[in-house]
């Protein structure tokens, strides 16, 4: 074994990872059944630790310290130590805690999936599908906010927000000027600009892509199409502002939406500019590549939607484009 590598065992499966690797990253390296993450986002510094859905049990801290950690820990921030033994889905305590967190996330969520543009590619929907219950125990009034247009391209539907802070970190780290943030506190906390500012900068559209729920949606795509009725294709163009590497969401030869590409963990690795996102919606603007991968655990792919899935062609050819 490379002496610099640390051995960690998660749900009985072991892997060796470099120092500094978090439990979540190690679990993702192992493959399936890694903890969910609603706030952590690899490309965004300081993200994570807030939503608590990734809590896991550390049954053995390290080889040197065989004691368990006293509380469940956020796997997205807790670093692996050599000989660490972690329980994720194998721990009833973890599953119960996760169940509890999902319930907390849902008590003030409007559950308006039928009219929400995010449905089908919503992390909260997926999470609830896996860890939620059919009945709610919550009988009190739900928190509500007015919808706000933050600029002509983005709508903020704060009622759906789970306060992951990703959009705030994105604005801080990806754009040149942050004009929105988290206002107020406790369960009255909200994402906002305070003075009804428009969020206008070349990279503002990325806050839509990082949003795990339907709180920030693309107004140019609003109510146009259910995501599972459109076909995602990787495409690129030469752009002087960003990498120009995007996903085109195509329906009947129309580009109905442009997003950044996401990896299998739902994370954008290369952020895109608003020019690519909003101003290039013609097929001829793009060099179109292969069909984009859709994660298997997405609701789009879950059994109940099976009949509605049309697996896109592996390679787009002129025939499809002119179809």
């Amino acid at each position: 074994m490379d002496s610099n590598l640390l051995k960690v065992t998660i749900d009985g499966r072991s892997i060796e990872v470099p120092p500094g690797t978090t439990i979540l990253q190690a679990a993702r390296m192992i493959g399936e059944h890694y903890p969910p993450a609603m706030c952590y986002y690899t490309p965004l510094k300081e993200s994570g630790g807030k939503c608590r859905v990734c809590l896991v049990r550390v049954a053995q801290t390290s080889e040197a310290n065989p004691r368990p950690m006293p509380k469940l820990v956020a796997s997205c921030l807790t670093r692996v130590e050599n000989g660490m033994v972690v329980e994720n889905e194998s721990s009833p305590e973890v599953l119960e805690a996760r169940h509890g967190v999902v319930e907390f996330l849902l008590i003030n969520h409007p559950l308006d999936c039928p009219v929400c543009d995010q449905a089908g590619e919503c992390d909260l929907q997926n999470l609830a599908f896996e860890h939620g219950t059919e009945q709610t125990r919550y009988e009190e009034g739900r928190r509500e906010f007015d919808k706000i247009d933050i600029g002509d391209k983005i709508q903020l539907h704060m009622t759906r927000c789970i306060l992951c802070y990703r959009c705030v970190f994105t604005a801080d780290q990806i754009t040149n000027e942050r004009v929105h943030g988290v206002l107020n506190r406790g369960d009255a906390a909200e994402i906002g600009t305070y003075i009804k500012h428009a969020i206008e900068n070349d990279f503002s559209g990325n806050i839509v892509d990082v949003c795990p729920v339907g709180a920030l949606t693309d107004k140019t795509y609003r109510f146009k199409q259910r995501v599972w009725f459109s076909k995602p294709f990787n495409a690129h163009r030469s752009c002087d502002k960003c990498c120009g590497e995007v996903v085109l969401w195509i329906k009947n030869n129309d580009v109905i939406r442009v997003t950044a590409r996401k990896n299998k963990f739902g994370e954008v690795e290369k952020f895109i500019c608003n020019d690519c996102r909003y101003d290039h919606k013609n097929l001829e603007d793009w060099v179109i590549g292969e069909a984009a991968e859709i994660e298997r655990d997405s609701v789009i792919r879950a059994n109940k939607y099976k009949t509605k899935i049309h697996s896109p062609a592996v390679q787009v050819d002129a025939k499809f484009v002119s179809e």
Partner: protein
């Protein structure tokens, strides 16, 4: 009269001035400390057995020894004067009346830790206290106790008072550091702990006001002398702020180990319950700690007399015990309604949750709303177990201890007073709210 370490001179007229404070032996610990190495000062604090007086009771000397001294970054000492735990009002009293005790403590503690700039973070509501401290700090600078080359020792220290803005959560040490950096009081995920990554990412110790004010006595008399006071691992004295239904509410410096019964009933302390009422329950260490019914606060489950000490109050764990916490001692007489009191505390935590992590943000509000319903006669029997379950799902799942602080009162009140909750459900309107002509509203 019991041993007084902090309050020996608190009633001396003019003790808030440097002149009077010095005339009573104040600032003598500086010369002593400067003759020692910083590590020797830390060693005395370790020997003293002093434990954090803000609530957690963590050994102070050990906390100091965790400070990352290998780092070449500056180190900071930050005093936590954000006293906001319901039932706790000792630090305000200390800072207001004997500010130099804290300043002297800050100087010797900063010396031990190698801090060149230190801050006293005081909750913003205590503006009068902040004015007193700022004046006292100016006096200390003038007298050469602060600033460059203090008393020719070669050690220099700048000390500033920082006001908060109104947020209980800033009593949590990492939220306090965020606030001191000019941000929202969102607690940080730990590790890293402040000893490694504190103020501005530098090694930092955060200590409570009372803890720091204890240090000069330890330096003057030695750690062993301090450890000889008190009982077992509960060494020294503790400021207890007593309130609620007692004849003599106020702040008392007690020697740890004093029987609870004596504290409640002796004329030297609380002076018993007014109007001949009976004792119903006590919250012994600030609103966050489990409430105990009269029989369990006076005696442990084994029938031993309960003492005012970390260990004795915790005897029986949370099944039949509680915690010394911050020393906020709230007494309830037989007329007090446990349900109403719990709703009030739950509303407090709902209001004070920073909103960063989901279990606390959503769970505190949920518990408050259910309790409000029960209190106002719209509860169901199943609500009681629902509360227990929600509390359990918050506890241990949050970024900071506010989750536990909100969950423990709920769990303990239902554990010890379930019948009272059931009575509110089965016979709404039979209890306390009759004398209020309007419903008290929820938060926000």
């Amino acid at each position: 009269m019991a041993r007084q370490i902090l309050f020996e001179h608190i009633n001396v007229p003019g003790i808030n001035t440097l002149e009077t404070y010095v005339s009573k032996g104040g600032y003598q610990s500086l010369a002593r400390a400067f003759k020692m190495t910083p590590d020797e000062v830390t060693e005395e604090v370790k020997k003293s057995g002093l434990r954090g007086r803000g609530g957690a009771g963590f050994p102070t000397g050990m906390k100091w020894s965790f400070l990352d001294k290998k780092s070449d970054k500056p180190r900071y000492l930050v005093c936590n004067g954000d006293e906001s735990e319901p039932g706790t009002f000792k630090d305000r009293h200390l800072m207001m009346n004997i500010p130099h005790a804290l300043i002297e403590g800050m100087i010797v503690s900063s010396y031990a830790l190698g801090a060149r700039t230190s801050y006293i973070y005081v909750r913003g509501e205590m503006m009068p206290v902040i004015r007193v401290l700022e004046k006292a700090i100016q006096e200390a600078y003038k007298a050469g106790y602060l600033g460059n080359n203090i008393q020719g020792s070669g050690y220099s220290l700048d000390l500033y008072v920082q006001p908060g803005g109104g947020a209980y959560i800033c009593g949590e040490e990492t939220a306090l550091l965020e606030s001191l950096e000019g941000k929202r009081g969102n607690p940080r995920n730990k590790p890293p702990f402040p000893a490694v990554w504190g103020l501005y990412g530098c090694p930092t110790v955060v200590n409570n006001v009372e803890t720091i004010a204890d240090v000069p006595w330890i330096v003057n008399h030695g750690g062993d002398a301090y450890a000889a006071i008190g009982i077992g691992k509960s060494t020294g004295t503790k400021l207890i702020s007593a309130c609620g239904n007692i004849n003599k509410p106020g702040i008392y410096e007690i020697e740890l180990g004093l029987p609870v019964e004596e504290f409640i009933y002796s004329d030297q302390y609380c002076g018993g319950i007014p109007n001949g009422k009976k004792l119903k329950a006590v919250v012994a260490g600030g609103s966050s700690v489990p409430i105990l019914p009269a029989d369990l606060i006076l005696k442990t489950a084994n029938g031993e007399p309960r003492l005012m000490s970390y260990e004795s109050l915790n005897d029986g764990g949370f099944v039949s015990g509680t915690m010394l916490g911050s020393g906020g001692f709230i007494v309830y007489d037989e007329d007090q309604c446990i349900v109403r009191n719990l709703w009030n505390f739950t509303r407090f935590y709902h209001h004070e949750s920073c909103g960063q992590c989901s279990p606390c943000r959503e769970g505190t509000g949920w518990m408050e709303k259910v309790l409000h319903r029960i209190e106002y006669g719209h509860g169901k029997m199943s609500d009681i177990d629902l509360l227990v379950d929600v509390a359990k799902k918050i506890e241990g799942k949050t970024i900071c201890p506010l989750g536990e602080a909100a969950a423990w009162p709920v769990a303990s009140a239902i554990r010890h007073f379930r019948a009272e909750f059931e009575a509110h459900v089965s016979d709404p309107g039979s209890c306390c709210k009759k004398h209020l002509h309007r419903e008290m509203t929820s938060v926000h």
